[in-house]
Symmetry: C2
Subunit: 221 residues, 2 copies
């Protein structure tokens, strides 16, 4: 069998990762700078994505790099429509806050990346019982890219207020592809110290204890 000679990381290196993780933010259009991304930087983001884990090493991802203003405008139209619908989900008080939020940077960001899941069309090792893990591989790629962007002091915002069918039409994506994420990418004038929705008191950070269960759930009688 192949030798095991993987690198051992130091405590200092683990701390670097911890800092990158804790300083990553969702960046919106009011923060992006009008400055193009160098090709070498885009390559580093993609390289991080392409080294994500994938079920059965299936690498079921496709990345559409969008700089064209007309395509962005069409995607923005879908956002505007979906965001209008979204308002009605919230109570009166939250609606007023919601309407003031800047939630995307489709037009402002120099680069948009539409991230698709592409089914492999043959059985995939590890995907035979839980088919959705193919999608999850693509999400791991997005998270790798997001962290790498933060380490390069580049902002990413994930826009999910979109009609995925419309985005597929705009991008002429194959029928079998599934839109997983739509990312706005660019240099920014800075990063907030905490998530914006936490600063705005839209939601509170949950206590760690609320998310951790030991051994199994206890059913109340």
């Amino acid at each position: 069998m192949h030798s095991l000679t993987g690198k051992l990381f130091t405590e200092v290196e683990a701390d670097v990762l911890r800092e990158i993780i804790c300083n990553r933010r969702d960046v919106r259009g009011n923060r992006f700078l009008d400055r193009p991304l160098e090709e070498v930087v885009v390559r580093q983001l993609l390289d991080a994505a392409l080294h994500a884990p994938s079920v059965g090493f299936s690498q079921p991802w496709e990345f559409v790099l969008i700089r064209d203003a007309e395509i962005k405008r069409q995607v923005k139209d879908s956002y505007t429509e979906e965001n209008q619908k979204a308002l009605s989900f919230f109570g009166e008080e939250k609606q007023a806050v919601y309407a003031r939020l800047k939630l995307e940077g489709i037009v402002e960001a120099p680069l948009n990346i539409a991230v698709f899941y592409k089914p492999s069309g043959k059985p995939v090792l590890g995907q035979t019982s839980m088919e959705e893990v193919g999608l999850y591989s693509v999400v791991c790629a997005v998270q790798n890219m997001w962290l790498m962007a933060r380490a390069l002091n580049i902002g990413i915002g994930w826009v999910s207020i979109l009609d995925p069918d419309k985005v597929k039409q705009i991008l002429k994506a194959p029928l079998e592809n599934k839109l997983v994420a739509y990312l706005c990418v660019g240099y920014t004038d800075g990063f907030y110290l905490k998530p914006e929705l936490e600063l705005l008191e839209w939601e509170k950070r949950k206590a760690a204890e609320a998310a951790v269960i030991y051994e199994r759930y206890v059913i109340s009688p």
Copy 2:
């Protein structure tokens, strides 16, 4: 509005992240050491997970920490059953290879973590058009944990050859919870330099060009 004073990372720090990303592996039972994980280490893994991005800052995750041998045995039974079924998906030649692969470390790993999506029960900002992004937030938490584990020289293996309903029953999980990932976590005797399925030539690494599209898909006439 709140000030923007987020940390600026250096090139050296970005390189550390790149190395962690490229050296992360899926670790199986033939590599785990029989050595318990210190509580402080488990806390660091959870802390990385809890700082993942989540749609609308909903933090829709729950982590079940499993050390109990009887629970592990029951989960392993589900793996064995599903893995037997999985064989039939592959052609004769691949079946022989598949049957020899060690694909999980449920019993060998000192710690298992079942990761669930817990729907919030109220409308979530950003989740009104693509409901699945709640699940994707949980996957981002898994990937954060996986990278932090690698930085701490700890192995994680993601087991997806399981019946999620059986795992939910074993863990007495609430009906509304959805199993996203089942992780085996522990110290290891090393990390392979490349993904195991690449070394075994089960799948090839795809060329970057195959995964990148510019502006939009071109439909052949």
